[in-house]
Symmetry: C2
Subunit: 216 residues, 2 copies
C-alpha cells in the first residue's frame, strides 16, 4: 500500500465504483474479475482501472485478473470502510429526515447514532429509530459517544457556524448538504442539490446526452 495522500482524487472517485462492481460480481458467483469487467458498467477503460489499482501495489495476476475477495478487502481498506463509522445528523428538516430514514447507510458501516435540531418542536421525536436531541446536547454527545462524522443538513446561513461547533467537539469529517463551502480543518464532502439541478439544466439546454465525465 502506498501513501494514501498520493492517490489522485479522480482515482478515489472511481474506487467506490470498482468496489461495487466487484461485490456485484462476487454475488453473481465470480471468484476473479478483470480490469475491463470492473470498468465497463461505468464506461471506464481497462487501462484506467489498472492504473488506478496500481497505486496499491501489484495485486492482480496476469492472464487471470484480480482475486475478487482480495480486491474487495483492499478497496474497503483503502476507502476506510473496514471499520465502523459513528455519525450524527444535524438539522432535522427535509433532508435530515431523509437521511435518518435511509437504511442503506448502515450496510456500509455508517451508523447514525443520533440527530440534533434547534427547533424544540422536533426534539424528542424519533425518526427511523433515531432520537432527536436539542443542539445544546451536541458537544457532549459527540465527545462521549465517540462520534466521527457529522451529516450537516442545516440551512446555509448557519452551516459554517454549526460546522465549527462540530469540529470543536472533535468530529473528523462532515458531509455537507448546504450550498456553500465550509472552512474547517477536517474532511468535507458536499452534496449540493441545487447545483446538480443547474448542471442538469445546462446539459438539457445544450442538447447533451448521457452523463458528464465519470458519473459526477
Amino acid at each position: 500500500m502506498t501513501d494514501r495522500s498520493e492517490i489522485p482524487w479522480p482515482t478515489v472517485k472511481r474506487l467506490s465504483l470498482y468496489l461495487r462492481e466487484a461485490e456485484r460480481r462476487i454475488e453473481a458467483g465470480a471468484t476473479t474479475v478483470s480490469s475491463r469487467q470492473l470498468g465497463e458498467a461505468n464506461d471506464i477503460a481497462g487501462t484506467q482501472v489498472r492504473k488506478d489499482l496500481g497505486h496499491f501495489g501489484q495485486i492482480g495476476k496476469s492472464g487471470i485478473g484480480y482475486q475478487a475477495t482480495n480486491l474487495v478487502m483492499t478497496l474497503r481498506r483503502i476507502l476506510g470502510l473496514n471499520r465502523s463509522w459513528r455519525a450524527v445528523v444535524v438539522g432535522v428538516g427535509n433532508i435530515g429526515r431523509a437521511i435518518l430514514g435511509y437504511p442503506q447507510f448502515s450496510q456500509r458501516g455508517f451508523h447514525v447514532i443520533a440527530a440534533f435540531d434547534q427547533n424544540q418542536a422536533v426534539v424528542g421525536e424519533k425518526i427511523g429509530g433515531v432520537e432527536v436531541h436539542g443542539m445544546e446536547a451536541l458537544i457532549d454527545f459527540i465527545e462521549n459517544e465517540d462520534i466521527h462524522l457529522g451529516l450537516l443538513a442545516v440551512p446555509s446561513e448557519v452551516s459554517q457556524q454549526v460546522a465549527e461547533l462540530l469540529v470543536e467537539a472533535g468530529i473528523k469529517g462532515i458531509l455537507n448538504f448546504a450550498p456553500n463551502r465550509l472552512l474547517v480543518p477536517v474532511g468535507v464532502v458536499s452534496v449540493d442539490l441545487s447545483r446538480s439541478l443547474e448542471m442538469l439544466a445546462f446539459q438539457v439546454s445544450s442538447g447533451l446526452t448521457g452523463e458528464p465525465p465519470l458519473g459526477d
Copy 2:
C-alpha cells in the same frame, strides 16, 4: 455567446458558484463584481474565473470588473435558468419525500408538478402540496403536462427501467439518485449519497482536510 457544447465541463461546474456569488453581492448592494471576488468564496483563482467567463465573449470591463446584473443574466441564460422547468418526482421513498418538501427548488425555476410511485399505499397522498399518482399514470402525465425533468428516486434495481419509461414519455433530463449509471439518450446528473460518504471516509482515513478539488 459561443456554442455551449464547447464549454468544458469543469467550467460548467463552476458557473453555478459564480452565479450564486454574483447574486449575493447584488443583494449586498454591489453593482459590479471582479473575477477575484467571484472566485474567492470558493477558492477559485481570478484567472480561472476570467478564463471561464471568457467563453461567453468579452463581458467585463478592464479596471472595473463585471456588471453584476448583466453577469447574472448571462450566467442564467447559459445555464438554462432563464426559463421554467417542470419536473416530476418518481419514487416516493425517503429521498423522494425530501425533494417534495424542499421549497428551494422553485426559487430557481424548478417546479415539481407531481409525484409517482408504484406503492398503492402512498398514491393519493399529498406531500409538500404535491399529489402522488400511480405509475400507470406516468406516461400520459408527462406528455400532457409538458414535463421536462424527472427526479428519479427509485431503488437501483428498477432505475434503468424507469428511466427508459421516462425517456419514452418524452422527458429531457434526469436527476438520478440511484447508485448506478443510466444508459439513456437524455441528459443525466447523478447524486450518489453512498459514494459521497465513501469518499468522505477515505478523506478522514487519510487525514486530509478541507474539500476535495472544486467542491465536488
